[in-house]
């Protein structure tokens, strides 16, 4: 039942092209199946959400991270997660004055390496929707409700890729039914 430990050192890593292409194949297939970008965006987000819910466990198990003390701490840990899973280091910037909102700016995006959006999709399709989904799902499992969306995307011709994250509220433990 236990996973056998792997021999070679980097067998924990997968070729990033395989990842990009797998994701690309999935999006292309979904566009064929739906023909409605809105629906595809939504589904990608939902897929990301369920990936995030499971990825957070993997992340916590591997890193010994403790609970975040504030949103700045959270931002740092998200950065760490990006480094760990995608080997990229987005920079954290554009804090709102109230401190409940920040941006992640990517210089490159492994999801979009071979990707070119045809003009007909360039405004409608949110190609990377899976990333906000992952972040939302992961943070929800540590009791933070956030909103997450792309403000800029190089795929759509913007100069950089910027992901905005806004803290909505802390989720409280609910008392299970039937207990005091």
């Amino acid at each position: 039942m236990s996973r056998q430990t792997n021999k070679s050192a980097d067998s924990k890593k997968v070729n990033n092209e395989l990842f990009t292409l797998t994701y690309g194949a999935l999006v292309a297939q979904m566009l064929k199946d739906h023909e409605n970008c809105e629906e595809v965006n939504k589904q990608l987000e939902r897929m990301g959400y369920s990936i995030g819910q499971r990825l957070i466990e993997d992340f916590l198990a591997r890193t010994n991270c403790t609970r975040c003390v504030d949103l700045r701490d959270t931002a740092e840990k998200i950065q760490l997660a990006f480094k760990m899973y995608l080997t990229m280091s987005p920079s954290v910037t554009n804090w709102s004055t109230s401190g409940d909102e920040f941006s992640l700016v990517f210089d490159s995006n492994p999801l979009t390496e071979f990707v070119e959006l045809p003009d007909s999709y360039s405004t409608m399709l949110k190609y990377c929707s899976i990333i906000p989904g992952i972040i939302r799902g992961a943070l929800e499992m540590v009791q933070m409700e956030v909103m997450c969306w792309f403000v800029q995307d190089t795929l759509r011709g913007d100069p950089s890729t910027e992901l905005r994250i806004r803290m909505v509220k802390k989720m409280e433990d609910a008392i299970p039914v039937g207990e005091n």
Partner: protein, 177 residues
């Protein structure tokens, strides 16, 4: 007329240098993404063979692109024309590039020069997957079979590739037309 105008304002991907692939996506993330892919196929199919066909379709999408990249990057724009060379390239180079290790074996069926086998003891995509009983015949390696098929067909070796459970590993059966 569209091509000219769109190439002006955007740098096309085709113009970018083709950098060597790095191995830097964490396997957990890939595993989870692939599981979503499988679930997506499962939700839209009613039988095991349909799921497998859908997975193979997605794999084909990948294979077509991998072949192009491979030809440009490693083979100096040349394409393989000899069948055995082609199979060896798939077994070693392509497998290593995509899945991190070479396939275990390449065999020819006894007395049949149109059937070849590629054996992989632990296909990457199956590493995280355990099957519930009612789907026990499903093999997600069909995804990889699709990749291989698209590569072969793209190099003008029309064939059909299937995947088969086989004492602990998966055998990809390549049947040439």
């Amino acid at each position: 007329m569209n091509i000219i105008s769109s190439s002006k304002n955007k740098v096309s991907n085709v113009d970018k240098p083709l950098i060597k692939p790095r191995s830097d996506i964490h396997i957990s993330l890939y595993g989870l993404l692939f599981s979503e892919v499988v679930q997506y196929c499962q939700n839209r199919a009613s039988s095991v063979s349909e799921i497998q066909a859908k997975l193979a379709d997605l794999g084909q999408h990948i294979g077509q692109r991998v072949m192009d990249v491979q030809a440009v990057r490693d083979k100096n724009f040349k394409r393989e024309t000899k069948l055995i060379q082609m199979l060896i390239m798939i077994k070693s180079t392509i497998w290593k590039n995509l899945f991190g290790k070479e396939a275990d074996k390449l065999e020819q069926a006894n007395g049949d020069d149109k059937t070849y086998y590629i054996v992989d003891g632990e296909p990457l995509v199956n590493r995280f997957i355990s099957m519930p009983k009612d789907l026990s015949s499903l093999n997600c390696a069909y995804f990889m079979a699709g990749i291989v098929e698209a590569i072969m067909v793209g190099a003008n070796f029309p064939c059909k590739v299937t995947a088969l459970w086989h004492d602990g590993g998966t055998t990809f059966i390549i049947k040439l037309a």
